[in-house]
Symmetry: C2
Amino acid sequence: MTPDANLHQNLLPLFQYFESYQNLSSASKEEIASICTTVQIPKNKDLQAIGHTCRTIYFVKKGLCRIYYYKDGVDITESFAFENSLIARVESLFTGKPSKKGIQTLEDSEFIGIASPALFDLYDQFPEIERLFRKIFEAAYVETVNRIENIQFHTAEERYNDLVKSSPDLLQRVPLKHIASYLGITQVSLSRIRAKY
Amino acid sequence: MTPDANLHQNLLPLFQYFESYQNLSSASKEEIASICTTVQIPKNKDLQAIGHTCRTIYFVKKGLCRIYYYKDGVDITESFAFENSLIARVESLFTGKPSKKGIQTLEDSEFIGIASPALFDLYDQFPEIERLFRKIFEAAYVETVNRIENIQFHTAEERYNDLVKSSPDLLQRVPLKHIASYLGITQVSLSRIRAKY
DNA sequence: GGTTTTTTTTAACATATGTAAAAGGATTCC
DNA sequence: GGAATCCTTTTACATATGTTAAAAAAAACC
């Protein structure tokens, strides 16, 4: 296999993911491929540290990670990202400000990193790339709006049951303490909810 | 004044708003102007009814409105929009599905409506228009992500105080029952919080 | 394989918010 | 301007979740 073919082999799941939003010309794919790098990170390590400005959008090829931050000294999980999804600290990516959040692996993981300054430059030449990412982030925006409704008008117990139903392997792969902070409750409270079943 | 100049006079605040995100060519402005209409709605009337699919993005020129829905028969306010801001039910706008939410005025109001199917068509011809709305919705996405943190890790009392500080005239212009449901608490609970001061 | 560390559960008590009902104020409307 | 409606507060009680501490269970490490 040539180095080039090898690269595309590595990026295959990423381009499959993209195609669910928007078809891309070969030229666009080439350009995107040229700004991607593959990263391997062991379990429980930081992929991106707290305090750094987000300049990379990651695609989870293997494994699992979370965005987290500290609130009054307490570790809070903002979100999880499983295989075949994108993850980025958007409040830093779109503002250029340093992020108060970090990205940490929860298993030995492999990511495809897309350099965001280079990506944003590609937007000028390739409107279809800009469109692709517009659609991706519009969908993420809609999910976030829906999550607010979920947080505000369901009990912690309902949110826990919904979460387990929508990500059945979450319980096997993620410590309960992270699930608790993601749900906005304490470990103790989550333990009480689980004890009911 | 010619009809054309009159139109642009009406749309001036909208284009000023746009310019804070992205400069537009005259051609782009003409095209956008051609898909805008002005709407006047009296107080407490629906601008967009529950159940209809969102095909218009509104700019609040005068007055005030809210996005609301019913949760188990209870009226919930999802968000407010004051003068010089955009409002749309994005979960319907970006998915094409009927919205479970409505938009209601809280004062006699005036809106500029932008027809979204026509707008999305303009994206093909005018990448700068697509870019403008990409940036607008990226910023809205970031705000929504930040709001989740605010909801999940602050008490209702803290959220109430923050809200009053960030929108001082909200209290004069919006009934407390809507503020309560926006904060995710009952009227009774909000009344107790207010009684402390 | 045993020790140490981390994770999860349990217990006891404190507090914030919910629910329901009633009363007081304010506004609307004829 | 009086009646009706809507909005806000208050009260009493119920419940969910938080806090702290300790015990139990599981996982990580030499």
